[in-house]
Symmetry: C2
Subunit: 360 residues, 2 copies
């Protein structure tokens, strides 16, 4: 394994290269980290779909950005003299197809809806002009995410206060977003402000996003990080090593129930049992106010081989039954606050959510 931690290489998680007609998407292949820093070029919509499905690009906000660019790529193969009907049909096909890559993260649907609405409202524009307008919109989604991350960081640091140890689960960092991340943005912003934090990182089975991605991001920025197995979080809390927990989220219902990487619900209960505040950091696009509560959030079940053959080696008997839910839902009552780019929602109630998000 190359020691990438010490390289000065700066590769953005998601980059658009070229123009609307013939440009393409470049992604860090996150399945290869931390062993190798490899990028992949997506030049057709199928490879964008595959990258999302296989978690080469992952994290709710990053999936939304990649999918927005995916719509631009998917329209490149449409003839420039296609009819409006053919254009609309292609837009609907593309957005339906990309929405199908992963079922839980709402930012994916949010970004695709935004692209679809703009595309279907192209009155008077040529196909070429519409393509340019859609690339500009995807770039806006991307740039707004960057700004959103910074705002979450500022609000989160104010909420966090004077703590020394924090725990996080999965990866809600720059790799999951355009730049600073959501949960990790709070840590990066604290560092920018001179606050010394020690971050305990759950490895996050089965796909080890904590060990592979979060530990790597923190080390790259010189933030003190200690890796633990998910089963050790309770012991770390009991020993007084952490005074707060912050994770990201993939979808948040109207009442604040939050779907996030499997294991998040467990940590929220453990934090409560130890009197430690549990926070979620997520952009407003993560909220799905059409869902009354978390039971309505569909939970993706993934391949059993992620558990039995995770790392190039079989670790369970042939033919064993496996249950592999990719997410769980943490009920709002276990969440002490939700940190958004619009401000902090605390306590987590439907009224407070609507007030902070500015939704009537």
């Amino acid at each position: 394994m190359n020691n990438l931690n010490t390289t000065s290489q700066k590769q953005e998680t998601i980059t658009w290269v070229g123009d609307a007609q013939s440009g393409h998407l470049v992604l860090i292949d996150q399945t290869k980290l931390p062993g190798e820093l490899v990028t992949i070029a997506c030049r057709d919509v199928e490879s964008v779909w595959e990258a999302i499905k296989m978690l080469r690009v992952r994290g709710a906000p990053a999936i939304g950005i990649a999918a927005a660019y995916g719509v631009v790529i998917g329209l490149q193969t449409l003839s420039s003299d296609a009819t409006d009907e053919a254009f609309d049909e292609r837009v609907n096909e593309l957005t339906d197809y990309l929405a199908n890559s992963r079922p839980t993260a709402v930012n994916l649907f949010w970004a695709l809806d935004r692209m679809r609405r703009l595309a279907l409202d192209k009155t008077g524009l040529s196909i070429e002009e519409a393509r340019k307008k859609l690339l500009a919109e995807a770039r806006d989604v991307h740039e707004e995410d960057r700004e959103m991350c910074r705002a979450i960081g500022r609000h989160g640091v104010a909420l966090l206060g004077d703590v020394e140890g924090v725990l996080t689960h999965c990866n809600a960092g720059g790799l999951a977003t355009a730049e600073y991340g959501t949960a990790l943005s709070v840590f990066f912003t604290a560092q920018d402000q001179g606050q010394h934090l020690h971050v305990y990182v759950d490895e996050t089975r089965p796909l080890l996003q904590g060990a592979r991605l979060t530990a790597w991001e923190l080390m790259q920025r010189g933030i003190e990080a200690t890796l633990i197995c998910d089963s050790m979080a309770a012991q770390v809390m009991r020993e007084g090593r952490v005074q707060a927990v912050i994770t990201g989220a993939d979808r948040i219902a109207a009442n604040g129930d939050s779907a996030n990487k499997i294991g998040t619900y467990s940590i929220a209960i453990l934090a409560r049992a130890h009197g430690i505040p549990f926070y979620i950091a997520a952009p407003s696009s993560t909220f799905d106010l059409t869902l009354a509560h978390g039971d309505d959030i569909p939970i993706e079940e993934r391949n059993p081989r992620e558990i039995t053959h995770g790392f190039g080696k079989q670790t369970a008997p042939d033919g064993v039954q496996v249950y592999n839910p990719a997410f769980d839902v943490t009920p709002a009552e276990y969440i002490d606050a939700i940190i958004t780019e619009c401000g902090v929602i605390q306590p987590v109630t439907e009224d407070n959510i609507r007030e902070v998000l500015g939704v009537v």
Copy 2:
């Protein structure tokens, strides 16, 4: 990987072969399961120590049995005309050395103390006679464990009642003991009595004893088993899939605080949060009544590479800090009952422990 689940091969976890003078110990090398069913022969005390240290033999009761035989092996190199002083010195050396292999499991010290006391009280016996007597004692430790497991199973089934789903962590099965195990003995006994159970098995990071050993044992006996990651236990409880949790223990203090594989404390809290009873199954030799409470139990910290290089592949960045406690302590208030061969301790209080164990 060979599909060992379907073989009819019956290999005992621990077997003594031969006589006291020149016999040796045969162990299933549990680090190779479930991929290969390999045995190792220990012909000197160093290889017994290594097998315990490296978890080739593991589980508190099995460690005690292996160490008892280890004392017999260690005395084979002593000259038959050695003085009583040389014999005593060798016995003390051997038992101190073996006790040093792992710090947490009290059954190890219990078995070694038993062998040491008998050895130092060899008045009038020749070295050869003493060796025979010690082998007989090690065989007694072994056989008593077999009986103990069966008794735990009977008491546990009565306590468990009419449940369908249970959860267990790590491996407290036949591989951890002489035959039926402790926690798994309850499941095996239920099966013997015609009760259908569905066992959810935590994979148990970092060394995956649940995935590698418990899933294998359950499948070999035809008990329905579903493997999950440790981080999924809370979700499994929330979905109502399990109505009880049973684990083993490595050391239990006078007040009932119980040290067991890292992650047990976490599950106990989660069980309480879901109104599910949490039980420990352990022989009386697991109790260390010299310790007032769990804070006095030393917790073994193991090699960081178990977490960063666990699956035959590096899964975390070079140089990452790691915290790897092998055990945690579950406070007595989270334990609904302790199932011993002497009966069930419920509620878990110091008085009840002493009464059930018959200790004044």
